[in-house]
């Protein structure tokens, strides 16, 4: 298989393993693949399927071999592609001699109405116990890390139980689901961000500029700014721009004009996202950072608090559109819905308001 032929040097660096979502999942691999995965040289106990680091698996199969020891069961599980040994430790409750709850059971514990939690718990444990003792031919679901002991691969069960499947519904579902999982996840190579980072160079200047702005506003806790305050931030994007291959563009817009244009587009993007807004258009070029604008936050909070007392909104809370029109009347006509939603999110995070249902909020 692909795993068996993997060159040890090709092993993904262990630092990146945790970035693979399969690493922390119980992979529903075929037993055949579990038996053929290559073990990591860096860290024994980690295996690779298709360069995905895997250490715990989830298997459903027929018990075709069993051995009972004092402390554990060994079940050979056959899923139709291979047979793997599963080491299933007996928990305390599988050891008959130990019965810690027995001492606690007194007739006086029987509650009113015939419900006795102690007896119920005992029943539950008995049921659990029964599901852990399997006979040949029964269906076993087992999850746990893969181990190699004495050159034999096995599953150290962290959970295991008998599956009652009189009409094979569970098995059929499993058989149909696993190929899908393989196609969608296990057989797809992992694309780490570092590989995807190559795409940054193809990022448009606009998205680059928007990211710079977002970072700036966030890190410096800016509450408001004018366009010329941030102009410098974007300048490197213009001057560092490689000379255009098109010779004619030399006579194109000047760097200054380009900067103005870029700035305009960036501010438009940020406004569309609701991150910044202008209180009054054309009045001045002051932009307010939505969630940093204390006046706006207080205005929204007041609106919700006041209107939640009104009969109309008492039960369901104020709808976002109602808040929006109120904010526009009271605070600024230019508050967009996106901006308001950011404010609502911030207020909800600080528990100033509570969302009652989708798009509705209340406050006390």
């Amino acid at each position: 298989m692909q795993a068996a032929t993997m060159d040890p040097a090709e092993e993904p660096p262990s630092m990146l393993w945790g970035l693979d979502p399969l690493f922390s999942a119980f992979a529903r691999l075929y037993v055949k693949d579990i038996l053929q995965m290559t073990e990591s040289i860096q860290v024994p106990g980690i295996y690779f399927y298709n360069r995905h680091p895997i250490y715990k698996v989830d298997v459903l199969g027929t018990v075709v071999y069993k051995k009972e020891r004092e402390d554990f069961f060994c079940y050979g599980v056959d899923d139709g592609t291979g047979v793997i040994n599963c080491l299933c430790w007996k928990s305390q409750l599988l050891k008959p001699e130990e019965d810690p709850i027995k001492a606690g059971v007194k007739p006086s514990d029987v509650g009113q109405g015939g419900f006795n939690p102690v007896a119920e718990l005992k029943k539950l444990r008995q049921a659990q116990q029964e599901r852990r003792r399997l006979e040949l031919g029964e269906l076993l679901r087992v999850r746990g890390p893969v181990k190699t002991s004495r050159q034999q691969r096995e599953i150290m069960a962290s959970t295991y139980y008998r599956v009652d499947d009189p009409m094979m519904a569970v098995q059929i579902e499993w058989m149909m689901e696993v190929p899908q999982l393989y196609r969608e996840f296990y057989d797809k190579p992992l694309l780490l961000k570092s590989e995807g980072a190559a795409g940054i160079s193809t990022e448009t200047p606009l998205s680059k500029a928007a990211n710079i702005m977002r970072r700036f506003l966030d890190q410096k806790s800016v509450t408001r700014f004018r366009t010329y305050d941030v102009q410098d931030l974007l300048e490197p994007l213009i001057s560092n721009k490689p000379p255009s291959a098109d010779e004619h563009s030399v006579a194109g817009p000047s760097a200054c004009r380009q900067l103005q244009q870029l700035l305009k587009e960036v501010l438009k993007t940020l406004q569309d996202e609701g991150l910044v807004y202008q209180r009054a258009k054309f009045q001045d070029e002051v932009y307010y950072v939505t969630t940093g604008d204390k006046d706006l936050l207080i205005a929204v909070k007041d609106i919700i608090r006041e209107d939640s007392k009104k009969n109309k909104y008492a039960e369901k809370g104020c709808h976002v559109l109602h808040i929006l029109s109120a904010v526009r009347q009271r605070h600024s006509l230019n508050v967009s819905r996106a901006a308001l939603e950011l404010v609502l999110k911030a207020l909800e995070c600080s528990s100033d308001i509570i969302s009652t249902s989708d798009n509705s909020y209340t406050a006390f």
């Binding site: 298989m1 692909q2 037993v31 055949k32 027929t62 075709v64 071999y65 051995k67 060994c74 050979g76 056959d78 899923d79 139709g80 592609t81 291979g82 047979v83 793997i84 040994n85 040949l136 031919g137 004495r150 034999q152 009189p166 009409m167 094979m168 519904a169 098995q171 059929i172 058989m175 149909m176 696993v178 190929p179 393989y182 196609r183 057989d187």
Partner: protein, 147 residues
Amino acid sequence: MFLLPPAAEFRFPWEVNFVKEGESLRTFGRSVFHCVDLFDWLDLELVSYHPESSRASLSAQHASEEHQVLVDTIFIEPFNPIIGAQYVVLGEAEKYEGTGVMIRARVLNCVDGVNVALLQKAISGQRDFFRERESKQGDVAQPADTT
């Protein structure tokens, strides 16, 4: 060291006669138990039930043909046969009397009520997946060989 039995792949009842001797497999079918004497089984004459020579026969319909699968139940006795019920058998194929194949059952589970059409679909789906994967690996392996 534990000696695990070989994996038993799913086979359709109509494929059973083509598997290699000794191969492990599992298949399904409606049971028609014939508790017959070893030498008389072809006559389907019910003589008596001898645990040491017990035979069961499973049948399945496929493309308007009736397929019979002979099962040796010696390893799984005693069991409670339900005539006419659906069963799944897991075991090793053995040549029987030169002509047919008999399955020496390790597991014989009654699964009456199973959605046979869905089970067939699941088995085919699993095979398609493996075929697809192997052909893909073949594609990948070939350019690697030439370099």
